[in-house]
Amino acid sequence: MSAGKIKVILSKVGLDGHDRGAKVVASVLRSAGMEVVYLGMFQTPESIVKAAIDEDADVIGVSYLSGEHLVFTPLIVQEMKAQGLEDVLFVAGGSFPPEDIPTMKAMGIDEVFRGGSLSEDFVNYIRSRAGEKEA
């Protein structure tokens, strides 16, 4: 945390440019008192993790909308491990089949929030877990 606030890296990964969800989440998290470093589109697992390191982020949040969730989740988890970011929370939001969620978790993501999730849910989750991981 910095200034006692939870710091979240929010990003889209790969070629997809639909950022409505990511931007709404960014606004919600800001309203919830968090600091959101918005990386925008076309990021790679490496660039996301590097930003997380430099910003000493508590959370990495990724928005998946175009079927890339099973491709990029393990790559991001791998990069996080390689860089020693096990204590950083990794969550994703967006549009993916519920059947894939257990797979994503098995790959190492901490939690996923499908489209239609209430802000309350992911805000509370992040609030409760970001601190926990640090402890």
């Binding site: 790969g14 070629l15 997809d16 440019g17 639909h18 950022d19 409505r20 931007k23 709404v24 960014a26 606004s27 919600v28 918005y38 925008g40 589109m41 076309f42 175009s66 079927g67 890339e68 491709v71 990029f72 549009s95 993916f96 089949p97 519920p98 059947e99 499908r114 489209g115 239609g116 209430l118 802000s119 309350e120």
Partner: protein, 544 residues
């Protein structure tokens, strides 16, 4: 006008009612009455179908003469599979074809591009790298008899070039080729973000395609000015209306500046709207659009050809209204939205499949989507007469209101310096982002109900079958691309690349050179890369 007062002093039944606000933020009265028509001159303000100002429909006979085109999106990643699907749907009664591109193609990259990894052929988009893919995609189709809509934007010049080249190969006269290229770059800056170049060269390329099509492909719509994506990104119906029309007027201005004759190109401009949830507001939106477009084209731009005044529109039911929870509910949503589009007088219609919230449709669900339109057409009576909702107090009130709000927004944009200035200042992006945020808030506060999402929520087991994507496709596509490239004459490719750069720089129409280039085997990624070199690459500021 307030109907909540009775002259005889009786108790007002409407006084205690909770207010209702629609998605555009307009407050809806409990009751509308004939006073809505007090200022209306029916001949001047509504006219007859097919007559200025076209409020009642852009053609005199509308669906009585010919039903709307059932134009479903039908793309799949592998061009050959996509081709099969096209044939399948056409055999089941689809009268138009609509094709999406895969993510790498949308972003101007070939299947073998490192950034394309994991994304080739996914999401119901066809992977187009070369003219061979275009051949495979449209194999067995009589291009003179079928209308093809390409959902293609920044790469439109290349896709069109491949389409024209294919026409030449098959011996089909360009004059017979019919279809549409979405090709609307302004909405990319505002919402969908799949732009490559900065606004000026992007618009220039659009003008090149408009000029080329006006001269050579008279039945092909070179642009489909889109509100759908703006709405998907969060724009309210009024914003969708105002921003889309604004963008349209901008293209008209630029085309005139480029020396094109308005009465030659304007008849080929087409539009693409969303059929959103609010049934009557949607109808009002289309009516307002027709009136504003007709009036502006005639009075402001001085177009004299009645075909230039016609607002022709393709509609898609609202993807963003679909829920992944209790997916079968989506069938009902789509049906209501489709009926609304028909009542609104759309020229063609795509109905979403109910499982699209999760993946590309299965055959079963896409058939249901198709049947939805057929049932509306043949069983509901919606097409029995032309413009059945005319005269509705509510629809008319909403139409007037939306038109007025629209004019306000036009003024704001003009004050800002116009559409491109607005984009650079982040005006559209900000408005859309704020609407998106407000919508989310209204959902979470329970002010807006979405069944299955924030009310009547169920813990569910998803039994719905999802369509599988061939895991080997990407690998195979890359191999095929490699083999294709080996067959090319590298000297020809080099020459075409130089020619392409040269016309990009000189301002000459890029189409002839591009057609030659793709005939020689230049790939989409290679073409785009050349253009990026000359035009540069656009980066936006993050706007919330």
């Amino acid at each position: 006008m307030n109907h909540n007062e009775h002259e005889d002093g009786k108790v007002d039944p409407y006084a205690g009612l909770d207010p209702v606000v629609n998605m555009s933020g307009l407050e809806i009265e409990p009751l509308y009455g004939p006073d809505v028509f007090e200022e209306t001159d029916f001949a001047r303000d509504m006219g007859r179908p097919g007559e200025y100002p076209f409020v009642r429909g852009v053609y005199p006979t509308m669906y009585r003469g010919r039903p709307w085109t059932i134009r479903q999106l039908m793309s799949l990643g592998p061009p050959q599979e996509c081709n099969q699907r096209i044939h399948h749907l056409v055999n089941m009664g689809a009268t138009g074809i609509s094709l999406c591109l895969d993510m790498p193609t949308i972003m101007g990259r070939d299947s073998d591009d490192p950034m394309a990894e994991g994304e080739v052929g996914r999401c119901g988009g066809v992977a187009i790298d070369t003219i061979q893919d275009m051949r495979d995609l449209l194999a067995g189709l009589d291009l003179s008899k079928i209308s093809i809509n390409f959902v293609s934007n920044s790469q439109s010049t290349v896709i069109l070039a491949m389409f024209c080249a294919l026409g030449l190969e098959l011996g089909t006269d360009w004059e017979l080729l019919s279809g549409t290229m979405q090709n609307d770059i302004l909405k990319e800056y505002q919402a969908q973000k799949s732009y490559y170049f900065p606004p000026e060269p992007s618009v220039r390329l659009i003008l090149d395609t408009i000029a080329f099509c006006t001269r050579n492909l008279p039945k092909f719509n070179p642009i489909s000015i889109s509100g759908y994506h703006l709405a998907s990104a969060g724009a309210t119906p009024i914003q969708e209306l105002a921003f889309t029309l604004s963008n349209g007027f901008y293209y008209v201005e630029k085309a005139i500046e480029a020396g094109l004759d308005i009465d030659e190109f304007a008849p080929r401009l087409s539009f693409f709207f969303k059929a959103h949830n609010d049934f009557f507001e949607n109808v009002a939106k289309f009516r307002a659009a027709r009136r504003i477009w007709a009036r502006t084209m005639k009075e402001k731009f001085g177009a004299r050809n009645p075909a230039s005044w016609r607002f022709r529109v393709h509609t898609q039911t609202s993807g963003s209204s679909l829920t992944a929870q209790q997916m079968e509910n989506n069938i009902i949503r789509t049906t209501v939205q489709a009926l609304s589009a028909v009542m609104a007088g759309t020229q063609s219609l795509h109905t979403n499949a109910h499982d699209e919230a999760l993946s590309i449709p299965t055959e079963r669900s896409e058939k249901l989507a198709l049947r939805t339109q057929q049932i509306l057409l043949y069983e509901s009576g919606a097409a029995s007469t032309i413009d059945p909702l005319a005269g509705s107090y509510y629809v008319e009130a909403l139409t007037q209101r939306m038109e007025a709000e629209c004019e306000d927004i036009f003024r704001t944009i003009a004050d800002m310096g116009g559409v491109v200035a607005g984009i650079e200042k982040g005006y559209f992006q900000r408005e859309i982002a704020e609407s998106a945020f407000r919508y989310q808030e209204s959902l979470e506060r329970g002010e807006r109900v979405v069944v299955g999402l924030n009310r009547y929520v169920e813990e569910e087991e998803t039994e719905i079958q999802l369509r599988e994507v061939d895991p080997d496709f990407e690998k195979n596509k890359i191999a095929a691309l490699k083999a294709f490239k080996e067959q090319r004459d590298p000297e020809q490719i080099r020459k075409r690349a130089e020619e392409l750069r040269s016309v990009c720089e000189s301002g000459e129409n890029v189409m002839p050179v591009l057609i030659r280039a793709v005939q020689e085997g230049m790939t989409l990624g290679e073409s785009v890369a050349q253009m990026k070199d000359v035009f540069g690459v656009y980066r936006e500021q993050a706007i919330f």
